[in-house]
């Protein structure tokens, strides 16, 4: 059973460090999502596992066997390219048979197996069509079927849903997790779409600049981001910079730039006078009743919830997400004053990043 282990894997392309000493263990049957901004090294990591790129240093183990240097075709790990890379001169059925004939199947047996797999992805009647005759969603399913047909238990998906429209993406997402579960596959799925990662992953791996920032279950990463970047990239947060004014056990008091005082709980040792960044999820900010007075500047209606942008004195902005029920009940008028509160048990406090808050979240 495929268990994937990476040990101190590094890769440079010229002057760019794509991966910097990555250590990672992925369990058998686990659905992992590698999440990160463009250029964070996700695809390189996936290609190194697939054997399409060799690391400069470090080792890759699949199933306990060291596979560094083993050619791609020997790894029993199928890589699915984000444009699917369907072979344009072969029919759907021939595309799917490719991996089977490559593994020594007779043509007839390969074709039979291909039609079986085509049934799994519900494209039985398209066996003799050419890729260009299929819609984007169908092509995606053919590409998936082609991977599944090989019988490989390790599936490496590079932005598999990136080329689909929003509605289809949701549909295929469900399909993917169903198939992975049914066939007990180990899947490594690269994406830059956080909702995709949150909904699919057993384990989420957040990457940035060739390093792993945080790994854990989606809930862990969502509720306990370990850095400003984590809080920024997964979920939606308001970031507030300030100076630590008081430390009382776990309760830290922060004074914001405009003099506003907020409190947060933190296990880390903060000292008085230190710069810190507080991160609060937009949905955790309470509108109505609280110590902060703010003026409503902007309303974004998004269906199931709405985004309200408030302004504190001196231009400090806070965005709060409120559910639809609340939005219907109350009247929100632009320009009106509201009382806000930031619950201290839902506020996470981080040390000031070396490049400053803007450097941390704008360099993404």
């Amino acid at each position: 059973m495929p268990k994937v282990v990476l040990e101190r894997v590094s890769k440079r392309f010229g002057r760019i460090t794509a991966l910097d000493e990555i250590d990672l263990t992925l369990d058998d049957g686990e659905y992992s999502c590698i999440l990160g901004p463009t250029g964070s090294g996700k695809t390189t990591l996936l290609k190194i596992i697939a054997g399409l790129v060799e690391p400069d240093s470090g080792d890759v183990y699949i199933d306990g066997k060291r596979v560094t240097g083993t050619p791609a075709e020997k790894r029993n790990a199928v890589y699915m390219h984000q444009n699917y890379a369907l072979f344009p001169h072969l029919t759907v059925s021939q595309n799917i048979s490719f991996g089977l004939t490559a593994r020594g199947f007779e043509e007839e047996a390969a074709r039979r197996k291909a039609s079986e797999v085509l049934e799994i992805v519900k494209l039985g009647e398209w066996a003799n069509a050419y890729p260009r005759e299929l819609s984007g969603g169908m092509q995606q399913r053919v590409a998936l079927a082609r991977c599944l047909a090989t019988g490989a238990r390790l599936l490496l998906l590079d932005e598999p849903l990136g080329a689909l429209d929003a509605r289809l993406r949701l549909e295929v997402r469900g399909e993917l997790s169903r198939i992975a579960e049914e066939l007990n596959l180990t899947v490594i799925h690269v994406t830059h779409d956080q909702s995709e990662a949150l909904s699919l992953a057993d384990r989420l791996i957040l990457m940035r600049n060739g390093r792993i920032v945080q790994t854990g279950s989606p809930e862990e990463v969502y509720f306990k981001p370990n850095s400003v970047f984590s809080a920024y990239f997964v979920g939606e947060s308001v970031f507030l910079e300030g100076i630590v004014r008081r430390v009382d056990g776990r309760v830290v008091t922060l004074e914001l730039r405009n003099g506003t005082i907020i409190e947060a709980l933190s296990g880390d040792g903060f000292n008085r006078g230190e710069l810190a960044v507080a991160a609060v999820r937009c949905e955790d900010i309470k509108v109505g009743g609280g110590p902060l007075t703010a003026r409503l500047k902007e309303i974004n209606f998004l269906g199931s919830f709405s985004k309200l942008v408030f302004e504190l004195p001196e231009g400090l902005k806070i965005t709060a997400n409120i559910p639809l029920s609340r939005f219907i009940e109350e009247e929100f008028r632009i320009g009106a004053s509201f009382q806000l509160s930031i619950p201290r048990e839902r506020t996470r406090l981080f040390k000031q990043p070396p490049m400053g808050l803007a450097g941390e979240i704008e360099a993404v």
């Binding site: 399409l52 444009n83 593994r103 082609r146």
Partner: protein
């Protein structure tokens, strides 16, 4: 199918399958891949590059004889100058006249276009020397068909120009039409709906996108004009360019002028071609505005005149010379009953058929060897297997022999290999390898560049070995451009004369034989008949190629 035969076929299949699976196994080994790369580089350096240059470079000291002789020096420089001027004019005319025809082929949808499309390749299967003789007959001599040609021209600058135009034009049209087809019509549609007339669209959108094709065309026709020897001598009259001068001095037994002129030509043309590559890509046509005259030029009447003149130029200046010799000799051939005699294998015709066999054996070997060695080279170049520097260097160097006058190349090779005492057959083979290698590498590089890397990657992670991926993905997708490379190499080899003559006096290919016949007054009608047969053979062979290739490609996948 009888049982025995079926068994035989299946046994064949079995062997074939075992060979393929063996190759599959082999291709998995990294050492195999790297030894292939190494072998192809060794082949390139040891068989192609160094022998073509070293033969000349070893005699470098003798070049001083030319420098110290003012009269010889003068003649040498004027020959080089003529070559460069001629090549410049020819390549400019080629692009100017080739672009409209390429445009018609790529963009219009007339039914008769298919015929024009296939006729464009026709001059390629006529040996260049025959084209030369044909040019002479058409423009300079009294024939039963003189009415078609203009008989008042005397051999010289104009006839050389007409000849060079005729043999380089088909390749230029091919390149430009191919590139034009790659440029999606959506860009033109966008420009048109934004309000640009067809001519403005062509000037500001399509032609700038076509730049790489235009530069490639200029380089190729320039190099071809610079290096062609056999036919040029035939139509040169008193005109003397580099290759003519070299041939004359070799015939007079003089090596130093050949060394000197070859070197100057090589150095100059490397500079010119490098300049073309460098500045050609940087050059941008000013956009300015849509000129009023462009709207006028886009009018239907005007475009019709343009299309018509493009086709007339092709018919009269390219196609007619290509088949004129056969045409002009036809009445005599028929009255002598020559066409029946050809197949009797008697007298001169036995020599003829042997030379045909020679040519085809050489061409086949040349093509095979070049495919085997230029493919890994192309992989190194396009996939940067040995780093970017090696890629760039290899790509630049691999085109060097394209600019060498074929006679000079031949002499250099015989100087290099001469002492080793290898047979004339091998010498001719080596010469043909050198001459066709650049074409083959260039074709393979463009083939590989057009195939998205992700298709190969997909094939690999699905479990395909490198060899399996190559034969069932890369080859089928690229098969037409691959085929055209093979055909180009094969026909170039069959039609080559300059270098073949220079390396061997005894081993005769059919083109060399035809040159001899054309030169001797009492064999000229036979030369016509021989050319006719050769043309037929070439057409049949091309059809067979295409058949085997499409069949074979399907079976292998």
């Amino acid at each position: 199918m009888p049982a025995v035969e079926a068994e035989k076929t299946s046994r064949f299949r079995g062997i074939g399958r075992r060979v393929i699976s063996r190759l599959d196994k082999l291709s998995e080994e990294k050492t195999v891949a790297y030894s292939l790369y190494l072998a192809s580089i060794v082949f390139f350096l040891g068989i192609i590059l160094l022998p073509s240059l070293l033969g000349i470079l070893l005699k470098l000291d003798t070049a001083m004889n030319v420098v110290t002789n003012p009269e010889l020096l003068n003649r040498s420089f004027s020959a080089v100058f003529s070559s460069i001027i001629m090549a410049g004019i020819v390549s400019a005319l080629d692009v100017a006249a080739g672009l409209p025809l390429a445009w018609i082929i790529a963009r219009k949808k007339y039914r008769w276009l298919n015929i024009v499309d296939s006729l464009v390749d026709f001059p390629l299967i006529v040996p260049t020397v025959i084209l030369g003789y044909s040019t002479l007959l058409l423009w300079c001599e009294e024939t039963p068909f003189s009415i078609i040609g203009f008989t008042g021209v005397s051999p010289g600058f104009i006839t050389v120009l007409l000849l060079h135009f005729a043999f380089s034009y088909p390749v230029v049209v091919r390149i430009l039409a191919g590139k034009l087809m790659d440029i999606e019509a959506t860009y033109e549609a966008a420009a048109r709906t934004l309000g640009a007339c067809p001519f403005t669209t062509a000037r500001t959108i399509t032609i700038p996108m076509l730049k790489s094709g235009i530069i490639a065309s200029l380089i190729l026709s320039f190099a071809r004009s610079l290096s062609e020897t056999g036919a040029t001598i035939m139509v040169a009259g008193s005109f003397e360019n580099g290759p003519v001068f070299i041939k004359k001095s070799i015939d007079a037994g003089l090596v130093p002028p050949m060394v000197f002129v070859s070197l100057v030509l090589i150095v100059l043309s490397i500079l010119i071609l490098a300049g073309l590559r460098l500045f050609g890509f940087k050059f941008r046509m000013p956009f300015r505005k849509a000129y009023r005259i462009e709207a006028a030029l886009s009018r239907e009447g005007v475009t019709r005149v343009r299309d018509l003149s493009a086709i007339i130029i092709f018919l009269f200046l390219v196609l007619l010379p290509a088949c004129f010799m056969v045409l002009a000799r036809m009445p005599l051939m028929l009255s002598y009953g020559l066409l029946g005699e050809i197949f009797t294998l008697r007298g001169a015709w036995s020599t003829y058929w042997i030379s045909v066999l020679n040519s085809y054996v050489i061409a086949l070997l040349t093509t095979l060897i070049n495919v085997v060695f230029s493919l890994p080279t192309a992989v190194i170049i396009t996939r940067r297997k040995l780093g970017g520097l090696v890629s760039r260097l290899l790509e630049a160097l691999s085109t060097t022999s394209i600019i060498m006058p074929s006679v000079a190349l031949g002499v250099s090779l015989s100087l290099f290999w001469g002492a080793s005492g290898i047979s004339d057959f091998i010498l001719v083979l080596l010469a043909h390898l050198c001459i066709t290698y650049p074409y083959m590498v260039a074709t393979m590089v463009s083939v590989l560049e057009d195939i998205p890397v992700e298709l190969e990657e997909a094939g690999r992670t699905l479990g395909g070995t490198p060899f399996k991926v190559f034969r069932s993905i890369v080859l089928p997708i690229a098969k037409y451009s691959f085929l055209s490379g093979v055909i180009l190499t094969f026909t170039r080899s069959v039609n080559e004369t300059g270098a073949t003559l220079a390396v061997s006096k005894t081993f005769k290919t059919v083109s060399v034989l035809l040159v001899e016949w054309v030169k001797s007054p009492d064999m000229r009608v036979e030369a016509g008949a021989g050319t006719l047969v050769l043309m037929f053979l070439s057409i049949i062979l091309l059809v067979i190629f295409r058949y085997i290739y499409t069949k074979g490609g399907g079976g292998l996948a």
